[in-house]
Amino acid sequence: MYIIPMLIVVSFVSFIVISLPPGDYMTTVQNRLTSQAGMSQDQARAMAERMRSQYGLDQPFMLQYLNWIKNIVLRGDFGFSFQYNRPVSDVIWGRLGYTFLIALSAHIISVLIGVVVGIYSATHQYSFGDNIATVFAFIGLSIPNFFFAIVIMYFLSFKLNMHVGGLFSSEYVFAPWNWAKIVDFLQHFWVPVFVVGIAGTAQNMRIMRGNLLDELQKQYVQTARAKGLTERVVIYKHAVRNAIQPLIMYLGMSLPFLIQGAIVSSIVLQLPTTGPAFYNALLSQDMYLAGSFLLMLAVTLVIGNLLGDILLAQIDPRVRYE
């Protein structure tokens, strides 16, 4: 299929994009040497120069790119991160885990809550509860991700005097996984999940409500009621089943978007996930790391779409003959 050549183009474009800003990673190093280590300008500059030739950053662009690709394809080696002084794969895998955890949790919770609230809203249309839910849904859909993160941070830090940031309190980082550690983790974890999931919850709620309302108008519902089935069976066994289908179909496709949403929020909340690492890599021209991130995210998107298509084809036979 076209996937392989497209991936090549993607990687090339990623690499170009990453190397466009002037300077390279060594200028970041030099900057740090003067501001953090108290080195004099001269020494910092000289040291950066030496490291530059050491890491081959003074080689021509195509050479660097080809080396990178060669290593990925032949050895699964995504290059070296200057910032973390480790292979890129180490940096990414470590953080990808938490990113997926947050995105996945946010996804699941947003589906669960969205569906439940959607059902309630549809069955109690125009009631007070429905109106409140609708208002929240609209706000949840429209609020900028990063702004929401800021507001939450503000409330937690200054109104509730909680500690915000990171996934663990300092005592639990190396502690074995006991109950206390789980509690500590959850206390930190719910914030990013909440922030990332809010938009998804709102979306799901509205879709569920709309779909269910549509279903409840349909012929078969009337028939079922006429047959004497209880309202509850009518709703849950029949209407909801049909209403929920479109939602399921698009489950696979929304995961990449959640990962993206997690990026900006985690920069604000300063979590050890892909978002801040990618952002910092961009700013400091840690090109192999940034390029690999872009590549990984694109791959995730492709896989997500593929899964979504497969799921779609399974569920809806009409689609198969597209």
Binding site: V17, L141, P144, F147, I150, V268, T300
Partner: protein, 365 residues
């Protein structure tokens, strides 16, 4: 007596849509707010009580303006007024404190004379919607660290953000429609190639791609050029959505009779695409464009917020919010977060409007 015949009215497509739209209260609300925001953006200097770049050290980090209706002795005044504020330093908290001077009342006036500006580079004026006399200040949303009026900065920032949203969406629509139209109409190889290109672009997650591209913008460029570059990047990443949707519709239209008829009448391909097929998609295009506006505003805000989009001294809502990441800043000066609320309202309004249009244009969809 002759029977009164009911007149059969034929409503055009547009009038039908308008009727349906009027019934949607949220949609109307959205439309109202959008029009208001657009007006304010167009005539930004008129609505801004202060020059958004004017600094005033003596009024740094002022909180929301206190407007009074009751004076010191408890007398009620119909017209609202403010007191002049003097900056002092609190030895205990190390904060700036602003002490009102209650000896004189400054009434808020409409259509005042204030700072000079040139509207659209043509009309010179110093007329503003509201303000107070010299001697006191009217900072409805407070000020930032240099004493600049936050409301004025939000208004001018809105100009940039909304312009990017509207202009960006329109250009995206044009490009997307054309490409989608061409792709769907010609089908075959042309379609295949264009689809591959679209898929390639869509392979990239939008935000990270925009971040990567924006990081490459040289900061030596003037702020206006950077603005154009940012808009360019967003358009480049987003036109694919429109293209796919239009292509789908065009594919279904191309076999229809009116197209055959146009061909038989000797119409050129381009003519058929634009005049016939796309006009049938108009309502669809308008809806998608309207719904794309808030997405662009959101994208621009996110980029500028991260320092990758619009660069100071130009202001946009994202730039204003980038000061609000600092936990210490928002703890002490929470009004700095106000632009976020404004973004929220704007996006809500556009979403309502877009939803309303969609429901009106295609109630069965």
């Amino acid at each position: 007596m002759p029977e009164q015949e009911k007149e059969t009215k034929f409503l055009t497509h547009k009038e039908l849509i308008w009727r349906r739209f009027k019934k949607n209260r949220l949609g109307m609300l959205g439309a109202f707010v959008v029009i208001l925001l657009t007006l304010i953006s167009l005539f930004a200097p008129f609505f801004s009580p202060y020059d958004h770049n004017a600094t005033d050290n003596n009024k740094a980090y002022l909180s929301y303006q206190q407007i009074h209706f009751f004076d010191e002795e408890g007398n009620f005044h119909f017209r609202p007024f403010v007191y002049s504020l003097k900056q002092e330093f609190d030895e205990e908290t190390w904060e700036r404190v602003y002490v009102p001077d209650t000896s004189e009342k400054y009434f808020i006036k409409l259509f005042t004379r204030g700072w000079e500006y040139e509207l659209f580079g043509l009309i010179e004026s110093d007329l503003h919607l509201f303000g107070v006399d010299e001697g006191a200040t009217l900072h409805l949303f407070g000020t930032d660290e240099l004493g600049r009026d936050l409301l004025s900065r939000i208004i001018f920032g809105g100009r940039v953000s909304i312009a990017i949203g509207i202009l960006g969406s329109m250009i995206t629509a044009v490009i997307g429609s054309l490409v989608g139209g061409i792709s769907g109409y010609f089908a075959g190889i042309v379609d295949s190639i264009l689809q591959r290109v679209i898929e390639m672009i869509r392979m990239f997650p939008t935000l990270p791609l925009m971040m990567g591209l924006s990081a490459a913008i040289p900061v030596t460029w003037s702020p206006v050029i950077i603005l154009i570059a940012v808009m360019f990047i967003m358009i480049m990443v987003r036109w694919t959505d429109m293209a796919r949707q239009i292509r789908g519709k065009v594919l279904s239209y191309r076999k229809q009779e009116f197209v055959e008829a146009a061909k038989a009448a000797g119409g050129g391909d381009f003519y058929i695409i634009t005049k016939h097929i796309l006009t049938n998609c108009t309502s669809h295009i308008i809806v998608v464009t309207t719904l794309a506006i808030p997405q662009l505003i959101l994208a621009e805000s996110s980029l500028s917020f991260l320092g990758l989009g619009i660069q100071p001294p130009m202001v946009s809502w994202g730039v204003l919010l980038s000061k609000a990441t600092n936990l210490q800043t928002i703890g002490q000066y929470p009004w700095i977060m106000t632009p976020g609320v404004v973004i929220l309202i704007t996006i809500l309004a556009f979403n309502f409007l877009g939803d309303g249009l969609r429901d009106a244009a295609d109630p069965y969809g």
